[in-house]
């Protein structure tokens, strides 16, 4: 698979670190709401289709970014910085 790094261009997936689902919204720092953090941390749509997710170009520019990838085909649908 090739992952388009928004900064370095398309690179091999081996240069990246996967950061998981990016569609769950991170609760605000110190929100104090256990349930909110639980749902954010543990519950996923896990769709078969477009999936918004985090990647870090860990062997390259070390930048994290969001990527929309189709989990049914591994096609890259789009990126988001």
């Amino acid at each position: 698979m090739r992952i388009p790094c928004p900064h370095c261009g398309e690179r091999d997936v081996a240069e990246f670190r996967y950061g998981g689902d990016a569609s769950n919204v991170r609760p605000s720092h110190g929100s104090g709401d256990l349930k909110q953090w639980h749902d954010y941390k543990f519950i996923f749509d896990n769709p078969q289709g477009p999936h918004l997710e985090y990647w870090q170009h860990v062997y390259g520019c070390r930048q994290w970014f969001k990527l929309n990838r189709n989990t049914a085909t591994n096609e890259i649908v789009g990126g988001e910085r």
């Binding site: 900064h7 370095c8 261009g9 690179r11 091999d12 081996a14 240069e15 170009h57 860990v58 062997y59 390259g60 520019c61 070390r62 930048q63």
Partner: protein, 167 residues
């Protein structure tokens, strides 16, 4: 001054058919970090984008991500932005000669074709599972900036890939 010791103190320069590999030590590397404005203020001119290096004021600038620039050369007095000395953190290996691109192609999943990877461009990629910056400094001349602690393993990987060009 204390004695400087290279991570490749034990390495022997490789000379082969259309290929030389050696350490290129004694450089000064400083990282400057900040917003576009801060970086411009501190460095004067900066590269507009990543992947293309900029020669400015007898220094080489490599923009390694949107907010950080490596400067190779004398450090700049930079009040406007954050600076971090990194000269010890990287070990520089020079690979040059008509066969250099074939050697690099065994190390990284990067298109090293002369039309794609030209002089004064660079990539940040992986060599032997470690991060490396490869800078094309001439038609067939390259600087590899390897992590210091991995430098010997990277050196071995580079010279091993060169075996077919042994003299």
């Amino acid at each position: 001054m204390l004695k400087r010791v290279s991570a490749l103190a034990s390495a022997i320069t490789f000379t082969g058919n259309g290929l030389n590999i050696a350490e290129a030590p004694d450089f000064t590397l400083t990282q400057y970090a900040g917003s576009e404005k801060e970086l411009k203020k501190a460095l004067g001119k900066i590269p507009a984008r990543m992947s293309v290096s900029l020669e400015h004021d007898r220094r080489t600038q490599l923009r390694i991500n949107p907010t950080q620039i490596w400067v190779i050369g004398e450090p700049v007095e930079a009040e406007a932005c954050i600076s971090t000395p990194l000269s010890s953190s990287r070990t520089r290996i020079v690979v040059e000669g008509e066969n250099a691109r074939f050697v690099l192609a065994k190390l990284s999943a990067i298109d090293f074709h002369p039309k794609q990877f030209k002089a004064d461009t660079f990539v940040q990629t992986a060599i032997h599972h470690t991060p490396a910056l490869i800078h094309c400094v001439g038609e067939n001349a390259f600087h590899i900036y390897a992590m210091r602690t991995f430098a010997l393993s990277v050196w071995e990987a580079v010279t091993d890939a060169a075996l077919e060009f042994s003299a």
